[in-house]
């Protein structure tokens, strides 16, 4: 039953993913953490960090990883996790794949359709809101700590967040380098 649900949810995520890797993270977070509680918020952030720092499309990395962890968290053995990871990865691919093949087929005839252009003109701003929402929802106790419990680590979290934000936003820093440096800071100060 869990496998069917994983397949169904990741199929949805695949077909509604218009904004690339980060928009997909927002969709996965909503379904996997908020709605179904298969993963905790901090487990999810760890998965995003690993998906970012390993080669390959972030969406596939995140789907494979989430599929595995969700099933293992539910108390199933490793082999069931492997099957679930493969199911999640294929689920995320198959619907867009069929769509893409149809588009490839008809591309020469309908390239500059005004209707398609209108739809995407409205989708692009909405996707920015979607990604911002994922960032805001992840600014929680799991990822930043709490100022009431441990002021020191909360301040460090805020500082690391600010440094990473400035580095990627204004200096186009390599994301893997940013994650590695923040991780090393964690190793030293905690």
């Amino acid at each position: 039953m869990l496998f069917v649900k994983i397949f169904w949810i990741f199929s949805q995520i695949g077909i509604f993913n218009f904004g690339g890797g980060y928009a997909m993270i927002s969709l996965i977070y909503n379904d996997v953490v908020v709605k179904n509680h298969w993963l905790t918020s901090s487990e999810f952030t760890d998965i995003v960090a690993i998906s970012q720092s390993t080669p390959g499309p972030i969406g596939i990395n995140a789907a494979t990883y989430t599929g595995y962890v969700a099933v293992v968290n539910a108390g199933f053995p490793h082999w069931a996790g492997i099957i679930s990871a493969v199911i999640a990865s294929l689920a995320i691919i198959w619907l867009p794949f069929i769509l893409m093949i149809c588009i490839s087929h008809y591309l020469l005839n309908h390239k500059d359709s005004p209707i398609v252009k209108d739809i995407f003109a409205a989708l692009r701003p909405a996707i920015i809101g979607l990604i911002a929402a994922a960032a805001i929802m992840l600014m929680n106790k799991d990822n930043f700590g709490s100022p009431h419990e441990d002021m020191f680590s909360f301040a460090i979290s805020i500082a690391l967040f600010a440094a990473a934000f400035v580095a990627t936003r204004f200096y186009k820093a390599n994301p893997i380098l940013v994650l590695a440096l923040c991780g090393i800071v964690g190793l030293i100060v905690y």
Binding site: Q12, G14, F16, N17, F18, G20, Y22, A23, S26, S42, V48, A49, I50, Q52, T54, G56, P57, I58, I60, Y68, V72, H78, G81, S89, L95, P96, F97, M100, I101, S104, L107, I115, D118, I119, A122, L123, P125, A126, I127, I128, G129, L130, A132, A133, D142, N143, F144, S153, I156, S157, A162, A164, T168, R169, V178, L179, G183, I184, G186, Y190
Partner: protein, 182 residues
Amino acid sequence: MLLKFFLTCNKIGAFTLGGGYAMIPIMEQEFVDKNHWMERQEFMDIMVVAQTTPGIFSIDMASHIGYKMKGVWGGIVGAIGIALPSIIMILLIAMFFHTFKDNIYVAKFFRGARPAVVALIAAPCFKMAKTANINRYNCWIPIVCCLLIAAMGVSPIWIIIAAGISGFLYGKYKRKRNNIKD
């Protein structure tokens, strides 16, 4: 030729860090310059289509090229070719990490990395705002979408459906109005 295409896709999947857009120059080099599977103009056209259709960018690209070469099976070879190295690599990491995540040093490392992950997600919003032509007349769209999801718990899927339908209707209305003027 299909085997060579499969191995090329494996290579792209296995050696490109950073996902989606970081893969473009490598795909261009492999598909256009080295193997001449498509023209540069065609590569640009497909890039736009892959960006505007749902799904994973690099997989869309590989599906199209595969389809062009050998039909639907060619497309499947391309899509699986890109995804396979990721699936294997992530599975190995997941099995390893799941047993070692309670290790104190691993835990400390990720405690530092977590705020950075959130920053990495937040930062591209501003760059994307530029490409989506956000100005003071339409800046309410991303803000409202963000509030609906983060504060009211609306599923992002509904936001995407609503945005697509409104874009379609607004475009139709705009064309109708212009036709009357002409």
